[in-house]
């Protein structure tokens, strides 16, 4: 008997051990990011192209980075609100005006939320818009050149955060203020914030053909913080939704004082109604001062214009245009599903995720079921507009995107995870950890009627030990998940530039065929362009010297210049005569108080050199252009201010 018990016990122990082993094996093979099938999913063979473009904001780098998915490879960092010495952006004479503002030259900003232009509710891949948070600006990046071609400053705004999201046909790109301020700005006690400060929501019209931006109107709202926003789409096209916090209207210790109300609001704005009001002469023109900077691809040059007035709209004067939807606990992301029915308020301090119904909202508005008003703006009843709540999905919801198959994906900052849940039933379907503390996420086309629900990119705020350490400052990290199946699967970690906030993505095929290879020389209308070596020259006008220079493999023309004097201001206008793909040339001058120029084929750029010392000073090509790149160099002779050295130049022969 004992013997039997012993063998049974041994058998059971054996079973436990076996199953134990089995379990651990199973979980290993499931979660291991090194499993071969996972590696294959992100492997893009040498010479092959990625399936998607991802435009990931640089946050405090002021830039926009361009990645490929699923590989996570970085292709380009586009300077938007920050000077970039590599590309001479904000350093050369042509692009300096792009960073002009009503406060003067501001060479940095905090670039937050890229959004790709849309046609009929689908991503069209023409432009990316992105907001500068600090000195409020909206920029437009042209996706045929991957360059910033327009920046408009937003007056009456501060902390331009609930921006830069586009409506379904890119009728408008919308910019909301995060910090309410006195409008117009004036000297007043900070403690008098409540009731006196205002928040502006700015609707910038986008001209359909060239994308030129112009402020159509500014809605002057109560002094809350307008955090994020998204357009209605499909059935809710014509509306725009903004999350708010600090409805307490506190001006100090906001972490406590702005977290007191049980519910803040989502502001629903019927912009079609306001547009109609404005088109019929409504609104008040108000003095303002803001810069509008436009880069012209034909002249390769930007101009900055200061605009002096802006049309403002008081919401109370357009009845039925603005309503407030109570939403729990300082909501951050304000996300609209592809059908346009559901508006997700990601209450970052709430235990639940609140989803409003557009249909129910319209119904409540029609029946005038108001719970009260805030400065005259009707507040709807929470229960009347609520579609449902996702119960206890995680801690600290920030941002939700959609896969177009009826599922939503929400980031949870505090519990550091992405949670997949179902629209309509509000049940949680899956959760995956993020490393660590995820901020935002992106599904290609996620802010449109047609998401491509194959991948989600999570952008994490904290990286710690995920990569080889690089001292106290470590890279930020993005993570790629496969969402094509029932369960999400972590595929890849990849480092990012600056601090990504939002990102935008779309299939590469929407953009790739339109990407330019060069600028045709015959279309170069730069006033200082030199289109052949025969036309190169050096012209003196007082103490200003203009050098009309060309570059082609592998020489500058001219490459010897004499007659420049100490105290001159020498403008090098350099044209790249190449007409071949991927043959840029660079140029830099010893002692020039600026960056190099990096000039694309067919383009003209200008740098200023102010020689301070007599001598013979070399310049050279900075981009390894050809086998004779090292020979691509030249000299400028600088004489004393009172010298008589004649102004002469040459290529291939001596100056006599």
């Amino acid at each position: 008997m004992k013997h039997i018990i012993k063998s049974v016990a041994a058998f059971i122990t054996g079973l436990v051990v076996l199953t134990g082993c089995n379990n651990s094996n199973q979980s290993n093979s499931k979660s291991g990011a090194l499993a071969s099938n996972v590696a294959e999913k992100v492997y893009v063979a040498p010479g092959e192209h990625d399936e998607f473009y991802a435009f990931i904001s640089g946050g405090f780098s002021g830039q926009l980075s361009v990645y490929g998915l699923p590989s996570g490879r970085l292709f380009k960092v586009i300077p938007v609100f920050s000077q970039d010495a590599e590309k001479a952006w904000g350093y050369n004479e042509e692009t300096k005006p792009m960073l002009e503002t009503s406060h003067g030259f501001v060479p940095w900003d905090d670039a937050h939320h890229p959004d790709i232009s849309q046609t009929a509710g689908e991503i069209d891949g023409r432009w990316v818009f992105i907001n500068g948070n600090n000195t409020p600006r909206i920029a437009k990046v042209d996706l045929s050149t991957f360059e910033t071609t327009e920046i408009i400053e937003i007056p009456n705004s501060a902390g331009n955060h609930s921006s830069s999201f586009v409506t379904e046909n890119t009728e408008y790109v919308v910019a909301g203020t995060r910090f309410s301020v006195p409008i117009p700005q004036r000297d007043m006690p900070i403690k008098d914030y409540k009731g006196n400060f205002k928040g502006s929501l700015t609707f910038i019209s986008v001209e359909p053909e060239h994308g030129h931006m112009d402020i159509k109107f500014q809605l002057i709202m109560p002094g809350f913080d307008y955090d994020l926003s998204h357009p209605g789409r499909g059935k809710s096209h014509g509306w725009f939704f903004f999350t708010t916090y600090n409805t307490e209207e506190a001006s100090t210790l906001l972490e406590v004082n702005a977290s007191q109300n049980d519910k803040d609001f989502i502001a629903a704005v019927n912009w079609k109604k306001i547009e109609e009001y404005v088109n019929n002469g409504g609104g008040t023109m108000m003095p303002a001062n803001y810069a509008h900077n436009v880069y012209d691809e034909s002249t390769h040059m930007a101009t900055s214009t200061l605009k002096k007035e802006v049309l403002t709209v008081n919401p109370l004067e357009v009845p039925g245009a603005v309503f407030l939807l109570p939403t729990p606990k300082s909501p951050h992301g304000c996300d609209v599903d592809p059908t346009g029915e559901y508006i997700v308020g990601n209450g970052k301090l709430s235990a639940n995720l609140t989803v409003h119904s557009f249909t129910k909202m319209l119904d409540a508005i029609e029946k005038e079921k108001f719970a009260g008003d805030a400065y005259g703006i009707p507040i709807l009843n929470f229960e009347d507009v609520l579609a449902g709540s996702v119960e206890q999905p995680g801690l600290g919801p920030l941002h939700t995107e959609f896969d177009g198959k009826g599922n939503a994906y929400t980031t949870f900052f505090i519990s550091s995870e992405v949670v997949k849940w179902k629209l309509g039933t509000w049940e949680v379907l899956d959760r995956q950890p993020c490393y660590y503390s995820v901020g935002h996420l992106m599904i290609p086309g996620g802010n449109s009627q047609k998401p491509w629900g194959k991948y989600v990119v999570a952008m994490n705020k904290i990286t710690k030990d995920r990569y080889l350490p690089t001292g106290p400052e470590v890279t930020q990290s993005a993570q790629l998940y496969d969402i094509s199946g029932e369960k999400m699967e972590l595929l890849l970690d990849f480092p990012t530039i600056g601090e990504p906030h939002y990102a935008a993505g779309c299939p590469a095929d929407l953009i790739k065929p339109r990407s330019k290879k060069l600028f045709p020389l015959e279309e170069n209308n730069h006033p200082y362009a030199t289109k052949s070596e025969a036309d190169t020259k050096v012209v003196r006008d007082g103490n200003i010297v203009h050098v009309y220079m060309t570059m082609i493999r592998s020489h500058f023309s001219p490459d010897n210049i004499e007659g420049v004097k100490v105290g001159d201001k020498v403008y090098f206008h350099v044209t790249n005569l190449e007409q071949d793909y991927d043959v840029p040339h660079g140029v830099s001058m010893i002692g020039a108080n600026t960056s190099e120029l990096l000039i694309m084929p067919g383009q003209t750029e200008t740098f200023l050199w102010e020689p301070k010392q007599e001598g013979v000073w070399p310049f050279y090509c900075t981009d390894f252009c050809s086998a004779l790149h090292q020979e691509m160099q030249g000299y400028v002779r600088v004489s004393a201010a009172n010298a008589n050295t004649p102004l002469k130049w040459s290529l291939g022969e001596d100056i006599e």
């Binding site: 060069l518 045709p520 082609i552 493999r553 190449e578 007409q579 071949d580 793909y581 086998a627 004779l628």
Partner: protein, 199 residues
């Protein structure tokens, strides 16, 4: 109009395709050129296969001292005139001549085309061998003689980092078809003549 004359009429017209389509194409492949550089040779022009190709071929070739491909060469005037004249002769023959003239036209075209090809070869040879003595890079053959960079007249050849292809294009096929058709016109004409003279 008799059948052989109709065929001869066709033969005389076909070479006019040279005014519509390129005669020849030279293509240069290299690792740095995923889209190869290419040049179409028309009867009256050199043309880029893709925009700026000739400019970029010139830029490449200047390293080894080759001359720039000229904007125009005398052949661009002579060749079109030659084709027009032979077409007119062909038409006259088609309307007025008998089959023996078809053969003479055929021989004329063979001679002129061969002369044209030889002229093309001479130009290529000069282009590939008459190099600037101050060339940036000088290459020699294993026997010590100066390396030439002549593209092949017909076929494929490796030249330094490039693989050069040189092949006739649609215009040349029109010409060849025209010449061939004149021979057919002759043969049918001859056969018919025999038939009738036998009777």
């Amino acid at each position: 109009m008799k059948k052989p004359n109709i065929i001869m009429l066709l033969a005389a017209i076909l070479p006019l395709g040279l005014f519509l389509f390129p005669l020849w194409k030279i293509t240069l492949e290299a690792p740095q050129y995923p889209t190869p550089l290419g040049m179409y040779i028309y009867i009256n022009d050199f043309a880029d296969a893709n925009p700026h190709d000739i400019k970029n071929i010139n830029l490449m070739n200047h390293y080894v001292g080759m001359k720039y491909i000229p904007e125009a060469i005398p052949e661009f005037k002579i060749f079109p005139a030659g084709i027009l004249i032979t077409t007119v002769i062909g038409l006259i023959i088609a309307f007025k001549g008998n089959y023996k003239w078809f053969l003479y036209w055929f021989i004329l075209m063979i001679v002129l085309s061969s002369a044209g090809l030889y002229d093309f070869y001479l130009w290529e040879h000069d282009y590939g061998h008459n190099l600037d003595p101050r060339a940036i890079m000088k290459f020699t053959n294993p026997d010590g003689s100066q390396m030439g960079f002549q593209p092949p007249l017909f076929g494929t050849k490796d030249i330094l980092n490039f693989r050069a292809h040189s092949y006739p294009r649609l215009g040349a096929y029109f010409l060849a078809l025209g010449i061939g058709t004149s021979l057919i016109a002759y043969l049918i004409g001859k056969k018919n003549h025999k038939k009738y003279s036998d009777v």
